[in-house]
Symmetry: C2
Subunit: 233 residues, 2 copies
C-alpha cells in the first residue's frame, strides 16, 4: 500500500495560527518535505520547527529564483521523485506549505505531479489575507461586498484597471513592486484607505498606513484597500 | 482594568481546522459570545462545542433573518451591551465566529461597536474558500493569477460582468441563488470548469461538478471556477 501525501497549510507564520490538524499531522510525520528558496532557509520549515519530530526524514526542494521556469520545474521534478519513492515504500509524506497550499502555494506543483498516482489530502491553512486584515483592524468584506485579490507583479495598467471600481482589494507579493503600486493607489485617490502590512503575525511584523510604508518591502508584504465597510451600526 | 475582546475564527466547520490559538482561547474562556440565526442553533457554537469549558457563561445574540436591517442591528446592540458589561467587570470575552471574523463574518458588527472602547484581538481562521479548493482538488491561484470573490446574491448582470474575463472566481453564499448563478456560468461557456461544494469539511459535505449539483443549495455552499491553472509541469 502506498503512503498518503498530505499538503499541509501552516498559516501565515505564527506557529499558533497552525490548525489542530496540521499540528497533529506534522508531529506524527516520519517524512516531511518542504521548499527552500535559492539555497536559503525554508520559511515553511521555520513555522513548523517546534513540531517536527526528532528523527523525521526531511526532503528539501531547493527552488532557484530564476525568471526562466526550467530550473524551478527541475527542482519540483526532483522533489516529486523523492516523495514518490517514500510513498511507494508505504510512508506517508507531510508537505509543509506557508499559508494555504492552494492559494499561491508551491504545493500546487507537487499536486500537479502526484495527485493522479497517490492519495493526496490537502489541509487548508489560514491565509495571509485574513491575517493582514485582522492585524490592521480592517474588515475585508461583509454582506454582498466583493473582494479582489491581485498579485503585485501585475503590470501597472492592469493593476490600475482592476483596482479602479473594485470594492475591497488585497494586493499580494508587494516586495519590489511597492513604488509602482503606491503610485497607482495615489493616482486613484485611494491612499487614505490603504494599509501596508509586512510579515503579518511574526515578531517583526509591520502594520501602517500605506502613506507611511517603508521604502523597501520584503516579498511577504501586502496592501489592503477597503471602502471603509459600512459598520452597520 | 477592562477585559479583552477576542474575535476568534473557528474555520469552516471541522473542529480540527481550528487554529491552536483559537483552541486555547476558547478552552480558557470564562465568557463566550456567539450569534444564532433566527432562534435556531448556532453553527459557531457547534464547531466549538467540544472545547468550551464547563461552566463558561454564554452570551447568545439571536439575530433575526429579516430584510430590514433594524431587528438585526438591535440584536447586535444588545449583544454588544452584554459583552461590554462583562469586559467592564474585567472578564475577557471570546466571540466565536465561523470561518474568519473579518471575511463575511458577523464579528464585524461587534468590532464596529466595541473596538474604540476596548482592547480587541482578532484571531484569523481558515476560510471556506481555501477549504472548498482543498476538498475539490482545485488550486485557486498561482504566481500572477487573480482571484475574484463574489457573493451569490449579487444581481445577475453584475455576476455575469464580474465572472466574464476573471481568472479564478469563488462565489460565496450560493443558497437560493444557485439557479441564477448556474445559468450565468452556463451562458459564459464555463460550466466544465465549475465545481459545487456544500458544507465543506463537515460530515455531510457535498463536492461535485456544478453540472451535477443538487436542485437546492444550503446557505453554506460555494461555487469555484478556475481556469484550470497551468500545472507548471
Amino acid at each position: 500500500m502506498s503512503g498518503v501525501l498530505y499538503g499541509v497549510g501552516l498559516g501565515p507564520g505564527d506557529p499558533d495560527l497552525m490548525t489542530l490538524r496540521a499540528h497533529r499531522l506534522i508531529a506524527g510525520a516520519q517524512v516531511v518535505a518542504y521548499p527552500s528558496l535559492a539555497g536559503g532557509a525554508s520559511f515553511a520549515r521555520s513555522i513548523a520547527a517546534g513540531v517536527i519530530a526528532k528523527g523525521a526524514r526531511e526532503i528539501v526542494m531547493d527552488v532557484p529564483m530564476t525568471v526562466a521556469r526550467g530550473p524551478a520545474q527541475a527542482a519540483y521534478d526532483t522533489g516529486a521523485a523523492q516523495i514518490s519513492a517514500a510513498l511507494d515504500q508505504g510512508d506517508d509524506v507531510v508537505c509543509l506549505c506557508e499559508g494555504d497550499p492552494f492559494f499561491y502555494g508551491s504545493f500546487m506543483y507537487l499536486f500537479a505531479r502526484l495527485a493522479d498516482k497517490y492519495r493526496v489530502e490537502v489541509v487548508p491553512g489560514v491565509t495571509s489575507i485574513t491575517t493582514c486584515a485582522a492585524r490592521a483592524g480592517m474588515p475585508l468584506a461583509a454582506r454582498n461586498e466583493r473582494l479582489t485579490v491581485l498579485p503585485g507583479p501585475l503590470p501597472e495598467a492592469e493593476l490600475r484597471a482592476r483596482i479602479d471600481g473594485a470594492e475591497s482589494v488585497a494586493i499580494m507579493k508587494v516586495g519590489r513592486h511597492l513604488e509602482k503600486i503606491r503610485a497607482v493607489i495615489g493616482d486613484l485617490g485611494l491612499m487614505e484607505r490603504a494599509m501596508y502590512i509586512e510579515r503579518a503575525s511574526l515578531p517583526d511584523e509591520v502594520v501602517c498606513p500605506l502613506s507611511e510604508a517603508p521604502e523597501k518591502a520584503p516579498y511577504f508584504s501586502m496592501i489592503l484597500l477597503t471602502k471603509g465597510a459600512d459598520p452597520w451600526l
